[in-house]
């Protein structure tokens, strides 16, 4: 992300509707939306801010199927080659029951890999971030809706726009 020459502004709104309204106005003026912080996922924002990377499902599929295949291979190797045991005349390669453990293990591997992919996509864990120092940021996890916008040149028109849209507080972001 190329840093804009002017500092981005963080605007605080009381309702999600006000945030979405401000977002549209700021966009129409040519300002660049950097991020939004909301106490729950807003459907209206899902198209506005594509994550830079979201490989979660792909990673989960690869890890899940890969782990399941590896587990099946281990069962086959151990039951047919390493330790063949005739159990009641059943075939050494008892494929119907050999599908149970790979399924369980594959789901587990997909879950673990997906969790890691989610953290990686979000850039977490990162215990401190410049936005944590902003006023009212702690409300974003409770009852306020925050919008982070980079002004296209001077910050004053953007600040005015945000206040018109109903921002309770607009502050300049440092760091």
């Amino acid at each position: 992300m190329s840093r804009p020459s002017t500092k981005p502004l963080l605007a605080e709104f009381e309702t999600p509707d006000a945030l979405v309204r401000a977002l549209r106005l700021a966009r129409a003026d040519g300002h660049r939306l950097l991020d939004a912080f909301t106490p729950f996922p807003l459907e209206e924002l899902s198209g506005a801010l594509e994550p830079a990377r979201n490989p979660v499902r792909l990673v989960m599929a690869l890890a899940g199927f890969g782990a399941a295949a590896a587990m099946y291979g281990l069962q086959w190797y151990s039951a047919v080659y390493a330790y063949p045991l005739n159990s009641g005349g059943r075939p050494l390669h008892s494929w119907p029951v050999f599908t149970l453990v790979p399924f369980e293990f594959g789901v587990l591997a997909a879950a673990v890999a997906g969790f890691a992919a989610m953290l990686w996509s979000c850039g977490l864990p990162r215990l401190n971030h410049p936005v944590h120092d902003m006023p009212q940021f702690e409300r974003a996890s409770q009852d306020r809706f925050l919008l982070l916008v980079a002004p296209k040149d001077a910050p004053a028109p953007l600040r005015r726009r945000l206040e018109e849209a109903g921002a309770l507080l607009v502050s300049e972001m440092h760091g």
């Binding site: 912080f37 729950f40 996922p41 924002l45 390493a82 369980e104 979000c122 936005v131 996890s141």
Partner: protein
Amino acid sequence: MTGGAQAPRWIVPAQLSHGAISAAIADPIQKRGPGRLWFYALLATLPFVLVTLGAIGAVLTVGIGLSGVNTTVVWGFSIANYVWWIGIGNAGTLISSMLLLTRQRWRASINRFAEAMTLFAAGIAGIFPIIHLGRPLYAYWLAPYPNTMELWPQWRSALVWDFWAILSYILFSALFWFTGLLPDLATMRDRATTRAGQVIYGALALGWRNSARHWQVYETYHKTMAALAVPLVCSVHSIVGLDFAASLMPGWQESIFPPYFVVGAMYSGFAMVVVIAIFIRWGLNLQAVITPAHFDVMGKVMLFASVVMTLSYATEWFMAWYGGEPADRDVVRYFFVGDYRWLYYALIACNCVVPQALWFPFARRNLWVLAGISVVINIGMWFERILIVWNTLSHGHAMSLWRTYHTSLYDLAILFGPLGLFVLGFLVLVRILPVISMHEVRQISHDEGAAA
């Protein structure tokens, strides 16, 4: 509640703002002390915990002879308790995943503690196969690893399937639960007034910022996990069912067992969720987010499960008759007129008859009645599990081996002790983590047009 199209059903109108929701859920933990009742409850669980630890210690040192098993009835309380606890453990993930996928938004108020219930119950369930092994010090032989004996696990054994099913299920549930908790941990961090609270919740929240980008990735992962959880949870209890279905004993060859066990798990698990919901609602004053409408739908789910269970029992009887195998027919006759017949009648009363009261809206709305029915269901489901073990083993193919089970003191200890462990887990949990998903309740309140 009539619940018109516009009226908020899942949240009480008086407490609608997002701030009020956070306060209602977080403040009992962060601002208010636990209260005297909480301490009494904690003290009351301690004897149970000690009994559990003592029983586990005793069986590990003395041996499996402490249990009432004998050479005929080789399975007993350990197996019944295992199936009972894992059944309860299944409902949490079922509620979270199935209801998420079918967009049943009301789940938001109950999914968090239902998932916690899963973790505790599955953890307790995991103890039983190990203490039942007889040689528990070799429990790790179930895992495949290169060893100097050049041995490998027997992959055709139901015990090995159980090992993987429980292991995967516990770890999966823990991840699913923690993922849902992540945004709420950020709320706890931001509301914390003490340094310790900020540091501990802050570290656990991993720096979650509620960014729209985070939410998007979070939702992708959470929904995908839910989609995986449904087949996982069904497979886990199906594998438990296969412990019984994949055998040669009369009464233990039922191909209906896997789905029958899954529905049974949902049944007892929902009953346990109702009991816990009633306690949490009362103990933490959460009447605003756990409403009569929640109990109403949970009552309907239990009623449905009761009907399916009744049908499953009837199928079991019918198949024994229709199959025509004398040993199978004889074991079903033994259900009704044999040594354990009174327990069997109690089972039918608890699981099939009493829950029919849920057809009446009054029974689903009155929490005393609902709690009573839920406890009865849980007792009935335990009878079902012990009788699946006892009836078949006491009445197998060889008449000369017919014997009954003799319950020992140790059996009672491992039956009642873990209940205290379970309650202890919940008592500690409600004091340190939000038991209701704050961000999902906020979303409901937004969608119901309440907080706009």
